[in-house]
Symmetry: C2
Subunit: 334 residues, 2 copies
């Protein structure tokens, strides 16, 4: 095992905040991202926590993210909140619009928060969890540079485009937390195999002609396999419709990469739908969700989505997180 250092969540946030500030982010740009980096580490998703801070810093320096951006917020209709992130971080734009969208969902029953001129929003489930913690159901969409081809085709048209659901438990937490991409496997896994010179299992990626491949480098030049075949493509298209078309954001097929310094701001988008269960369920929501999740947890070996992340968060609150020393060194060097 590689060397680790134990950090409290407050220390992770402070370290992230300072690094983002040094790389050129304003305080309002750095704070929400630093906070959510700590939440991401608490959830146990190390790949998208502190390990991403050096990438964010690179993107601040090359102009892929504008560190002084100020999100602009409009409410064109009572239940619609529209934010332009101004090519700053997605997290600052979400912070600018989400409280308004939460208020609108409570008063109107449902609300939509759409965000354009945005960027990679990190772990989508972090935002869905926050909506659930506020007592609302959150259905979240975010798009990404295209990497999945349509069924029968070979050229990518949508990204790994995740969808996330956060359902409130009536006690300030989540009864259900789902966060899943449209691809069979995360693109970062294929990139890791490429770096390590290892073949990938069949079913992860396709070559430039749309044929299965076990060579990660060939797969990265081709496309990611959709989860469940054409149904994964369908889900990616649903997410693209919400995150890009409904938000007026840049389509994944036209977006600059989320990695590396070239291409300028990706200007991709997010769309969050928030619903107040008290408006629609006749008081039945919490009971229905408890019965549904208990039908899963009552089965030996059955997996309830999101449970691992939520129990990791409880442990992290108490005991902090063991972070890779190599990653800490890179973050501190910024």
């Amino acid at each position: 095992m590689s060397e680790t250092e134990n950090l409290s969540l407050a220390a992770i946030e402070a370290l992230s905040f300072d690094a983002l500030r040094r790389a050129g982010a304003s305080e309002p740009q750095a704070r929400p991202l630093a906070r959510d980096t700590a939440v991401t580490e608490a959830m146990g998703v190390a790949s998208h926590g502190l390990a991403y801070i050096p990438i964010y810093a690179e993107h601040l320096r090359c102009g892929k993210v504008l560190g002084e951006a100020v999100p602009s917020v409009e409410t064109p209709r009572p239940a619609a909140v529209v934010v332009s992130a101004g090519n700053g971080f997605a997290h600052a734009a979400i912070d600018a619009g989400l409280p308004l969208a939460m208020d609108a969902a409570r008063s109107q029953g449902i609300a939509v928060l759409s965000i354009r001129e945005s960027y990679n929003c990190g772990v989508l489930g972090v935002h869905a969890l926050r909506i659930a913690q506020s007592g609302l159901v959150g259905l979240c969409f975010t798009n990404a540079p295209a990497s999945i081809a349509p069924s029968g085709g070979a050229t990518p048209v949508v990204g790994t485009n995740p969808i996330a659901l956060g359902a409130p438990d009536g006690a300030g937490g989540a009864s259900l937390l789902i966060d899943q991409s449209a691809s069979a496997i995360a693109k970062s896994e294929v990139m890791k195999h490429a770096r390590e010179g290892k073949p990938i299992p069949e079913g992860w990626a396709l070559d430039a002609e749309g044929k299965p491949t076990t060579d990660p480098n060939v797969g990265l030049k081709g496309s990611m396999a959709p989860a469940g075949g054409y149904k994964g493509v369908g889900l990616g298209l649903i997410v693209e419709t919400f995150a890009a078309a409904l938000s007026g954001a840049v389509l994944g097929k036209d977006a600059s990469p989320f990695s590396g310094p070239v291409g300028g701001p990706p200007a991709t988008g997010q769309c969050f739908v928030l619903i107040d269960p008290d408006a629609t369920s006749g008081g039945e929501f919490a009971g229905r969700m408890a019965a549904l999740t208990q039908a899963i947890t009552a089965q030996p070996g059955a997996r309830l989505p999101g449970v691992n992340r939520q129990s990791a968060m409880e442990r992290a609150e108490q005991n902090g997180v063991d972070v890779s020393a190599a990653i800490l060194e890179r973050v501190r060097a910024i």
Copy 2:
């Protein structure tokens, strides 16, 4: 090939209407279902068109559907429309609430229509298409008796729970129409193989211990395989959260079967989210959708979801539909 008879869409609707009336449905219960039966035949989904009328008639006669039910509609918040179908047909309940939800989506930017004490709503994409034809984006959810087990478990907790998206094209039609279930394959396909005594391919169904099976009868006593493994389960849970928990409808795990005469009304639910793209996209929606769908249709052999159904509808408007004579005989015998 079996014998067929060519019917106009108006004739299919009239035949369906008369059969439903004779089986005990009131005029307001029969009309919307007859209309959508014709739309379903026009789309080329024969399995859920006239072939379902004898099942509907059986369910009217055994009390699984109340033919005299009157849906009750409430608008508890400006953007939330809540309907109880009163254990009548889902279609009458949708007709009762959808116009209000469409108006609310236009004035508020987004609206939710939730329906409880409902029933099988037929092809979900029929409703998503109708929303798209009104110029709104529709994201539709409906639940069903449980047939999919959680990952690592063996007892079904959610149904094949479809999700459907209808996106408007700005000209009274749909630029994108997606309608897909959470299972790898439709349950009706497994039932068909069982009837015909044929083995099913591996990956369609699981036995009562959650292990793969090629015996359709064993699969029907076990569970349907989710599409894309745990991601299909996740999608089924998202749909269940919307269609059952948010609507206060009966969970799939507690619902009576959609087939056969026993168990009384299933009392399952629907939830439709409607969004006005003019509220959120800054006028970019139609252009983004056109660019997205063209990126698919420009690839030789690539499949754009929903295109086959929409071109079938155009042909059916002109030329009617060739309907199985055996099915017609059964409908006319009601």
